[in-house]
């Protein structure tokens, strides 16, 4: 027991804590301080650059507008396609051109309503 105790005491002596160099704490403090400032400056600079740079405008402003335009175009295209699909049936049921036009407008309205209900879902 006493041998082990002696050995542990010697081990403690051998592995004595090592004092860091005097300038290490200061250097660390400076490095950390610089990092914090750098991060704040960089963030601020990036935000300003992002606002000023026209290349970033599409993402922030034009992006949603473009999405609305593209989306609306696609929906209208779908209505036209679906309305055209029933063209033969309408032609067979219509007695003249006026009646055909009326049926086409009515079907287009019905298809438009369906497409926008699908989008809303």
């Amino acid at each position: 027991m006493s041998d082990t105790w002696d050995f542990e005491a010697r081990l403690r002596q051998a592995l004595a804590p090592v004092e860091p160099p005097a300038d290490l704490e200061l250097r660390l403090q400076t490095t950390l301080g610089s990092l914090v400032e750098l991060a704040a400056d960089e963030l601020e600079g990036w935000e300003l650059r992002a606002i000023k740079d026209p290349r970033n405008w599409p993402r922030t402003v034009l992006g949603p507008a473009a999405a609305v335009v593209v989306g609306t175009g696609a929906a209208v295209g779908l209505v036209v396609l679906r309305t055209r699909g029933g063209r033969r049936g309408r032609r067979a049921q219509s007695r003249n051109a006026l009646e055909l036009a009326q049926k086409t407008v009515r079907d287009a309205g019905r298809e438009a309503l369906r497409v926008f209900q699908d989008i809303a879902r």
Binding site: R10, L11, P20
Partner: protein, 181 residues
């Protein structure tokens, strides 16, 4: 405004942390890498990494001491250091010989040979045993702290320490025996 004061509070807490544990991290790094230059680098890297994750660590520690967390960061970085070093030319004997240069007071000089032998044998131990001994004897960490730093249970850590001391004692005896022959 509130976020700014939170940040200031966090920075102040971090300053306290590194002032309190700079010596621990440095000692650990030094005994792991064996020279002052790399120990300084490792210490710096440890605190930089700790700073990045400090907020989360503080939140998750639930008031427990953060020293094991810091030492765990140093431990992981030291593992990377060894991995990188294995790709480069082997460490020179001067690096390994740098350890005993620390103990320069007169009382230590008297036991210098003995202590040098112990340190040399510490370096021969398996990694986990060597680290446990450094944490216990150089940093004065208790079993629970060492367990947290190494990611082991308290019981497993106790066994690890016991075996490390036993193995080291045997190694030192063998070394002393061969030197006197």
């Amino acid at each position: 405004m509130e976020a700014a004061s939170d940040k200031a509070r966090l920075d102040a807490a971090f300053t306290d942390l590194y002032r309190a544990h700079l010596r621990d991290v440095y000692s650990y790094s030094y005994y792991r890498v064996g020279n002052h230059h790399d120990a300084e680098d490792l210490t710096e890297q440890t605190f930089l990494q700790a700073y990045r994750h400090f907020e989360r660590a503080q939140r998750e520690s639930q008031g427990r001491p953060l020293r094991p967390w810091l030492i765990r960061i140093a431990h992981n970085l030291a593992a990377n250091y060894y991995r990188d070093r294995s790709r480069r030319p082997q460490t020179t004997i001067d690096d390994a010989g740098a350890l005993p240069e620390l103990h320069t007071t007169e009382s230590l000089v008297e036991n210098r040979e003995d202590l040098n032998r112990i340190l040399a044998c510490v370096q021969q131990l398996p990694d986990d045993r060597r680290e446990a001994l450094i944490m216990r004897f150089a940093l004065g960490m208790d079993n629970r702290e060492i367990a947290r730093a190494l990611g082991r249970s308290d019981g497993a850590t106790k066994v690890l320490l016991h075996r490390a001391i036993r193995q080291l004692e045997e190694l030192v005896k063998t070394e002393a025996g061969t030197e006197t022959v």
